[in-house]
Amino acid sequence: MSKQTCFLLLVSLLVLLPGTHVHAHRLILTLENNSFTVRYDDGTAANRAVIRILDEGERVLWEGSVSEGGTLELPVKNFAKVIADDGLGHRATYTPGQKTGIQLPRPLAAALGLSVFIFIASLGRFFTEKKRCAQKG
């Protein structure tokens, strides 16, 4: 592996290592014990978020802000969908009975992504060296 590839790999790892402790941002909306919680996926409460509760016809049943802690007591019993929006481009949706998709743990996802890029970089290196050797020979 060339010095250049080693250096860039080191930079990537330096970025990755602290990342495994802090995780990344994404808005998450959950309902537990008749209370909605809106937070980013690092655990930070999304206290700017506005919650809209919709019926089956997508009509707004209730709309309001969450508390400082990012929570809201369930104001409506029957609803079809809940949308949380922090007004800055982050949005999360909650639909009763709908299971969320399986997600890889963050460090594993980061390692998987890095592996793909390192593999591609290695391929690039291989073909470049092969071409160089062919030109010399």
Binding site: S2, Q4, F7, V11, V15, V22, A24, R26
Partner: protein, 201 residues
């Protein structure tokens, strides 16, 4: 929070986003060759992982992108690199959405291009010893400003209030400064040790 999430933009804007990203990918992809594959992949890996470096601020969560860094290392190819990184961030970290992939890639990719063009301005000062460092800082800072500007512009265009746009800018100020310093530091280090890694050197 450079990524706009699913359901925030209209279908028309999503379509424009994909069209513009496609056009820019074709235009900037002409510089790409197998010889560059290793470098492009590793910079893409750095951009991909940069979004894990984040912190809460002003009621939202902001993260690094290192798009300026991609710009100074890859030049025009940084757009394609950022596009791939944004796609992987969506697939593995659930950042952004499928319908917003085009507009997110365009916003962040254009910021990387801005970093590249700012860094090129150093050639106007060939005798200045600190040109690489200073323009590295400016490239990182300017790219972050461009990225937040593109994001804020998109949000404003789809009807978000000016107060939201102001919060987006205020929340990202530490990120802009951090990206500027990191990019400048790396540019200076590369200029001393492996100058050929900087684009156009």
């Amino acid at each position: 929070m450079a990524h706009i999430q699913e359901g925030v933009i209209t279908g028309t804007m999503a379509a424009y986003g994909f069209a513009m990203t496609g056009a820019m990918s074709v235009l900037t992809g002409r510089k790409f060759s197998v010889q560059n594959l290793s470098k492009v992949s590793m910079v893409t890996a750095a951009v991909f992982c940069a979004s894990l470096l984040h912190f809460p601020l002003l009621g939202t969560s902001v993260h690094f992108t290192f798009v300026g860094l991609a710009g100074i290392l890859l030049g025009p190819m940084s757009f394609l690199s950022v596009f791939v990184a944004v796609f992987f961030q969506k697939m593995l970290f659930q950042h952004g959405g499928f319908t917003t992939l085009g507009i997110n890639a365009f916003n962040i990719g254009m910021a990387a291009m801005a970093g590249y063009y700012i860094f090129r301005l150093r050639f106007m000062f060939p005798r200045w010893n600190h040109a690489v460092t200073v323009f590295g800082v400016l490239a990182g800072f300017g790219a972050a400003v461009a990225m937040v500007g593109m994001l804020a512009g998109t949000l404003f265009f789809i009807g978000f209030p000016l107060s939201s746009v102001a919060v987006v800018f205020a929340a990202h100020l530490p990120v802009m400064i951090g990206e500027g310093l990191a990019t400048g530091f790396l540019a200076a280090a590369l200029a001393r040790t492996k100058r050929e890694n900087l684009f156009h050197e």
